[in-house]
Point group: C2
Chain length 287, copies 2
């Protein structure tokens, strides 16, 4: 009875204090949820949460474990692209019945899963959000959703007929042309970013929007772009103006703003899969 959540970290590590905080919240307030934190989440190898083999193996073993229902990626930060492609052929049938939740650098894992049509990837808050101001609400948004008690606005996606592709703009940019890039035809692509200069965002739009057009995406929505550094001169266009400029130039529909960002207000958004399928899976598993 209940849902078993497994934590692993394909990019960078969390610390034990954060892991303990999450365990305490789940134990106290979510009787239907059971948490299993892979020790690899606490490993360190240079920049990464363990070397490539350790990160890949932790992910693969949890994804293939039939007693785990949800893979909750602990943290982004860079590193998933080093293990995603190699992990794909190692995944077994048990991996296909699972939900995978994360954002930021974890977009690489979600993309690899979507590309290979494995399981149900979801763009949503991660345990690391506990370390941000207001982040407990973000983490609870996921826990509430998994226990069937999420508020209606915790989830984005009910109003769309097209499949959605919510992703960090830089992560998407670096995925283009790689072996873990999913088919985006007919998808509404939602992008956000944090800490990039205006000119760098404009350059990313140049790269991404032309490629989205070639992939026959249905259109672009922009999420929040946070913590934009100040340059030595004003760029002269805001994010929406840049997005419209490039969508115009590349003849891709600009579809407005999406409620997603690299922040604690992040919503739960299905990633190239149907929301209804995910929610039915959760309802079946938890009962």
């Amino acid at each position: 009875m209940g849902l078993h959540i497994g934590l692993c970290a394909p990019a960078t590590a969390i610390d034990h204090e954060l892991g303990a905080s999450l365990e305490a919240i789940v134990k106290r307030d979510y009787p239907l949820l059971h948490l299993n934190i892979h020790p690899q989440c606490y490993a360190n190898h240079g920049h990464f949460a363990g070397d490539d083999a350790a990160r890949r193996d932790a992910f693969v073993s949890m994804a293939n474990d039939p007693n785990i229902d949800i893979i909750w990626f602990a943290k982004g930060g860079y590193g998933s692209c080093r293990i995603a492609e190699e992990a794909a052929p190692l995944l077994t049938n048990a991996a296909r019945q699972k939900i995978y939740i994360g954002y930021s650098d974890i977009g690489n894992m979600l993309s690899m899963l979507a590309k290979n049509k494995i399981g149900f990837p979801v763009h949503g808050p991660m345990p690391i959000d506990l370390s941000r101001v207001g982040g407990e609400a973000a983490v609870r948004r996921v826990l509430d959703w998994l226990s069937g008690s999420a508020s209606i606005d915790a989830v984005l996606g009910r109003q769309f007929n097209e499949p959605l592709l919510p992703i960090n703009l830089m992560t998407l940019s670096m995925l283009l042309g790689t072996n873990i890039m999913p088919d985006l035809s007919g998808h509404i692509v939602m992008v956000e970013d944090v800490g990039e200069y205006h000119y760098a965002i404009d350059r990313l739009f140049f790269h991404v929007i032309g490629n989205l057009k070639k992939m026959k995406a249905a259109g672009l929505m922009i999420g929040r772009f946070g913590a934009i550094p100040e340059n030595d001169r004003a760029f002269g266009m805001d994010i929406e103006q840049m997005a419209r400029y490039w969508c115009d130039k590349m003849d891709l529909p600009f579809l407005g703003h999406a409620d997603m960002g690299h922040d604690v207000d992040n919503k739960i958004i299905p990633f190239a899969v149907a929301l209804g399928d995910i929610e039915r899976l959760i309802a079946n598993k938890i009962s």
Copy 2:
């Protein structure tokens, strides 16, 4: 008699003081060279040296001017990708007889020219280098080369049989899959960068090296990677280790180090064209 050099700025502006310094150097020491600075080089429109139309038109008018032999791009800084694709169909036969020199963001212009097989693009120092410590030597490297008096080590490329593609790594990354990306089959790709974190460089290698393999590039050489910011923890690999890691993984030959960088030691390197063809063109024009 002599060579006519035209300056335009497809990205960001230079100031009048820098233009005057360059004019003084040429007038005093290079009797065979004649400088023509387009007033657009001094224009400002938000981030850019004039709006897109002004930058595109300045470039196109100079490229199509039969009395100009060399287009020397004044400065990079971001913006060329906004005008390169539109400029291509506006270029006439006069543009095919020209040499085009620049680096950094100007990689977009060089790529557009190479993609459309127009003229002779060259990766080399730009007038803006005058504003850097030691930059006059960089600028004189170009002026010496154009007047036929360059030192033997000012030019890189004589020792290679394959065509070369020397470019800023971020610029190349953003070009992938766009309409101004040249054919790289059989090319040795040389990359440099400045001001990027180790993890960002590793991420760029992920994106670029896999795509280079698909484009059947001959291999990768690394130039200098300058001003790498310090992160909150050590990455654990240096640039060569990262390049080797991704070349290994993607099965692209790693061909060692190239003497190029985002700095005043930059050499003159042919961009997807044969050095001999360029130097014959200069010799013909100047005599």
